[in-house]
Symmetry: C2
Subunit: 137 residues, 2 copies
DNA sequence: CCTAGTCACTAGTGTTTTGCAAGTAAGTGC
DNA sequence: GCACTTACTTGCAAAACACTAGTGACTAGG
């Protein structure tokens, strides 16, 4: 059972719908009905079961927004929001692989935007190879 | 049917195994047998069918590495390699969500490394909100 | 030649997960 | 009381998946 971190991550969100649900919730908390139209094509039982699982896994919390008719809104936890970067890269890739040239541009100059590695301490970007993994400490 | 780029991407790699296969192939091309041990737990029929599908979708190509007994090695296309960034973020997230504090550190200073947006033209990092999408240019 | 062994799959079989259409329970507006 | 909305649940068929065996091409040994 020496599964890597990627396998651990995919065990939680490695299905057809979970990432789309998380993506829909990135902008703001949504009610069940809003989710079911935001994530188009999902069946109601699948949405319910995914929400339940995402809650168990700590990516999503449900919060009551109306007491009298008890109604819930679903919002992301910090853990869930941590997927934002990966999702934007995945969306970029999906766009590129489908003909769209690039997804995002810098407001100020119109130039292409890409993701780079950034060292918090040095406060500068790094190249591949400037880093080591946690494993051997 | 206004499916977003993320949905388009996940239509190709949004199942339990495809991303793990791509990840295994990132380092170098692998033969079928190597893949089946690298991606642990995958059944042979599933591996074969995923490889076929990834080939149809243009993420993977098979190349003959031995003529006499005809043997193939599977390697990523440019499109497939384009997933590298998303996979590393996903792996990072998977590690963090499972207790590991952070996955990568800067060789020189030992500081934590994170992913940031970078404008190619300005050659500097951006904050969220400094950008717009392709949609209406 | 005959046998054993590897490699890369394919085939047969349950079991599990989805997708789809309906239905239901709680509450609200009139 | 009656229609209507919201947020699901239920039932069933269809698809995907997992597990185990088996096959075809070849190779190496005796």
């Amino acid at each position: 059972m020496e599964s890597g971190p990627l396998a651990l991550g995919l065990a939680r969100v490695g299905d057809r719908w979970s990432l789309l649900i998380v993506d829909a919730l990135l902008a703001r908390p949504l009610k069940y009905g809003e989710l079911s139209t935001a994530v188009e094509g999902i069946a109601p039982n699948i949405l319910a079961s995914r929400l339940r699982q995402l809650e168990r896994d700590g990516l999503v919390v449900s919060r009551v927004y109306s007491e009298r008719p008890v109604r819930m809104a679903y919002e992301l936890t910090e853990t869930g929001r941590g997927l934002a970067g990966a999702l934007s890269l995945l969306a970029d890739w999906g766009a590129r692989a489908n003909g769209q040239p690039a997804a995002q541009f810098h407001d100020a100059c119109g130039g292409e935007v890409e993701q780079r590695l950034w060292c918090r301490t040095c406060e500068r970007v790094l190249d591949d190879g400037d880093l080591h993994h946690f494993d051997e400490v």
